[in-house]
Symmetry: C2
Subunit: 109 residues, 2 copies
Amino acid sequence: MGKKSELLPGTLDLLILKTLSRGSLHGYGIAASIKRISGDLLTVEEGSLYPALQRLLLQGWVKAAWKVTETKRRARYYTLTREGRKQLGEEMSQYESMITAIGRVLQDA
Amino acid sequence: MGKKSELLPGTLDLLILKTLSRGSLHGYGIAASIKRISGDLLTVEEGSLYPALQRLLLQGWVKAAWKVTETKRRARYYTLTREGRKQLGEEMSQYESMITAIGRVLQDA
DNA sequence: ATCTATACATAGGCTTTCTATGATTATCGC
DNA sequence: GCGATAATCATAGAAAGCCTATGTATAGAT
């Protein structure tokens, strides 16, 4: 029957950019952070996350560097670029106006 | 570069079901209603709308009947079924919990 | 030793939405 | 009457986005 997405489609980039705006993180950490902060309601699957990060890299909104985690594992840390910060602002305001518009349609009466 | 969608992807069915919950409408009218109520922020393209209506028909959430409009044109009027009303309720609460969860991630701090 | 959790990555598929196109007909301005 | 515009339905094909499944590797716990 086709399960529903774990996310609202179209919001993944925004969620990642916002998460990185709080500080650099590796991919696994981004997913964990989104899951935790959302109260377990949002799950970013690895098959969605890594391609998304590639897109963000390509567009220059994040940059990446290999490092070693506190737990001694190699991981790629992503950092928001200046462009990425700008993009985040734009996506935030677009998102908010979308949500407002949808809210109007969904409200009773 | 790929323009952004006119909608938040994944919300179209919900918008249509909600619109029909206010009364039967034909396709063109559904699109017009969503556009108007959203303050012109949401535009449902015909190439999105009609396939979506086919899906809703297939799933039994709406039914359709040909009629003549006030302006003497033939049009297919869609009506929410009982199942459709149930589905609307489910999608509403899913949507709201998604939005809440996303809001947590997007809020500062 | 084996299992679990951490960590990255890609391929293939499905669903949804968009663009483009096409057809029909009522109404309005000229 | 004629041409333009708006109303109305519909489909095909492409593009995008997310998921499932899979593969690799290693640190730490049992």
